[in-house]
Symmetry: C2
Subunit: 337 residues, 2 copies
């Protein structure tokens, strides 16, 4: 199983080591903050929260808040709390997503809902969201609060859009992009935007940071969509074929439906819309995607968004943090290979 | 079915008509705000939200925010948005609670999760929480934001505490009070506190408003607990015996366990802890509660907290709003009869 994705021109393996190194000192404080703010006398809360938080996520989103703060010359302590808030918002979304998707696995471990039940996943998610807002309030920037509370509502809206579009093979590329803009890219955009905002930088820089984050977020999600049909998925602790089995309409499916034969469309209607999945159907789906070049074009679109992300950094002169942010884009896209 | 609760001294039926009348003009604007902020292009969101919001809740919590704002001489528009935020926080909690409790009914109608699924209840709850924070941010009071974000985290903490205590017959009265302080009273307290806060009143008045709300919230929850074992429950659209069937340890059970015989304790261990419920067990539970005076003492404690709520209003001179708030306490307690 697994599909061979086309090689990219650049064969030097891009990493996020430079980004990790440049934010390392602040990230240590973010990790302390995360640990202290998941603390509660109610022992189930740190148990459930830390099961997920300590399960080896890359913490890309909080790193972006720190990075854009540092890039903006911010010298206070607020970016640490905002970064921790962003990670809590993300963790809350994952806990609730697992309940919505009835997932059994997350980051290669049993999902929290399997160990503690749906109830605990819902409620600990709510607790983390509450703690996220508490930390934002402590930072005291109303503009940052506005950006992140907007994001909280938009992310949930995107998740409901996805729920409504699930199993609907009529979903077009535009509709799909609107869903992932809301459910995934919005938090990347907000995470990046609050950096220049708390540094008091001009609106144009805040806008550029947001554009960078949004484009990176879309690229990130598109690569994820491709990975769900193969590639390095296993190494990332993802189950290949999860989206397929859940009837999720992602870009590889949208492109296959548009370019495939009537028989291909009938196949996706049976498997995704009606949920009648038989032995060998995932391989059949992969065959259609290969034939319609759906996976390679999904990754090609991710690369387009990656270029947009890099272009948004034009407002900044060359420097180590800017280069690290460019590399982070390449890293997200290289995950597909 | 149903248990006869002891008559209270005061037989004139206390209502919340005065409170309703005094906040009517502002409440109209709160209702408009609620309607406009549940709006979304994603049609499932207003459908799910309005199913619950328009199902005849009394909107006691937002009324309290308006009332304490008016009592504090507040003349701006912020109390309207904060009141709507409080109602959204409450609605989000109800949507998530139904998923946690696997409830079929809410306010005499099928629960949203029955009509649209657990997924929609979780995600629309998240959306409403996000919208609540957006409105708070628009009001621009960092102190009000702090109070309400503290409340959001504490409520979730209380819900997890309740989850951990479920089916545990060792739960004592103190532990139980800590749970309902967090999961119910905290939002009443916060709803009341933000009124004087945005009016810029001295800390002592904000503290008094909070004390009023907290005591009222505890009284409200204790009466609810008693109603779950009978009384006017049917008229309120509640199923008698829900807490019993779900194995919830509430004050009537705590008091029965403390005062009952070994056989009574064995009965509650079988039914609540092990969930082995047979025909006639609810009637048996009611019999134990009658014998141990568990229901009348639950209501007596509610009356004590009601007195504390009224005493907290001492900082204010007599006037129509203060009288309406006193009546609201009597109304909450009279629901038990």
């Amino acid at each position: 199983m697994g599909v061979v994705l086309p090689f990219e021109e650049n064969r030097a393996e891009p990493g996020i080591e430079s980004l990790v190194a440049l934010v390392a000192a602040d990230m240590g404080r973010v990790n302390d903050m995360i640990l202290s703010r998941t603390g509660s006398d109610v022992t189930m809360i740190p148990e459930v929260a830390n099961h997920l938080i300590s399960s080896g996520g890359k913490r890309l989103r909080p790193m972006l808040t720190l990075a854009t703060g540092i890039l903006s010359g911010y010298e206070g302590e607020g970016h640490v709390k905002l970064a921790a808030s962003v990670e809590f918002m993300h963790t809350a979304t994952l806990l609730h997503d697992d309940v919505v998707d009835e997932s059994d696995m997350r980051r290669g471990k049993p999902a929290a809902r399997i160990k503690w039940g749906n109830e605990a996943s819902v409620l600990v998610g709510d607790f983390l969201l509450g703690q996220a807002f508490r930390m934002m309030v402590e930072v005291g920037s109303l503009r940052a609060l506005q950006i992140l509370s907007d994001a909280a509502a938009i992310i949930a809206e995107g998740e409901v859009m996805q729920l409504a579009a699930a199993k609907n093979v009529e979903t077009g590329e535009d509709a799909y992009l609107r869903i992932i803009e809301a459910k995934t890219a919005e938090l990347f955009g907000a995470a990046c935007e609050v950096g220049p905002v708390i540094a008091g930088r001009p609106e144009a820089e805040a806008r550029a940071a947001r554009d960078y984050g949004m484009a990176l977020g879309i690229a990130f999600q598109l690569v994820d969509d491709a990975l769900d049909y193969g590639g390095a998925a296993a190494a990332l602790g993802k189950n290949v074929g999860d989206d397929f089995r859940e009837g999720k309409i992602t870009l590889p499916v949208v492109l296959s439906l548009r370019r495939g034969s009537d028989a291909d469309r009938a196949f996706f209607r049976r498997t995704l819309e009606r949920g009648e999945i038989r032995e060998g159907d995932l391989e059949e789906a992969l065959g259609i995607m290969r034939r319609t070049k759906a996976l390679e074009d999904t990754v090609a679109r991710a690369r387009d968004y990656g270029r947009r992300a890099v272009a948004a950094l034009d407002v900044h002169p060359d420097g180590p943090m800017k280069r690290a942010l460019v590399e982070a884009v390449a890293f997200c896209i290289a995950r597909a290979y």
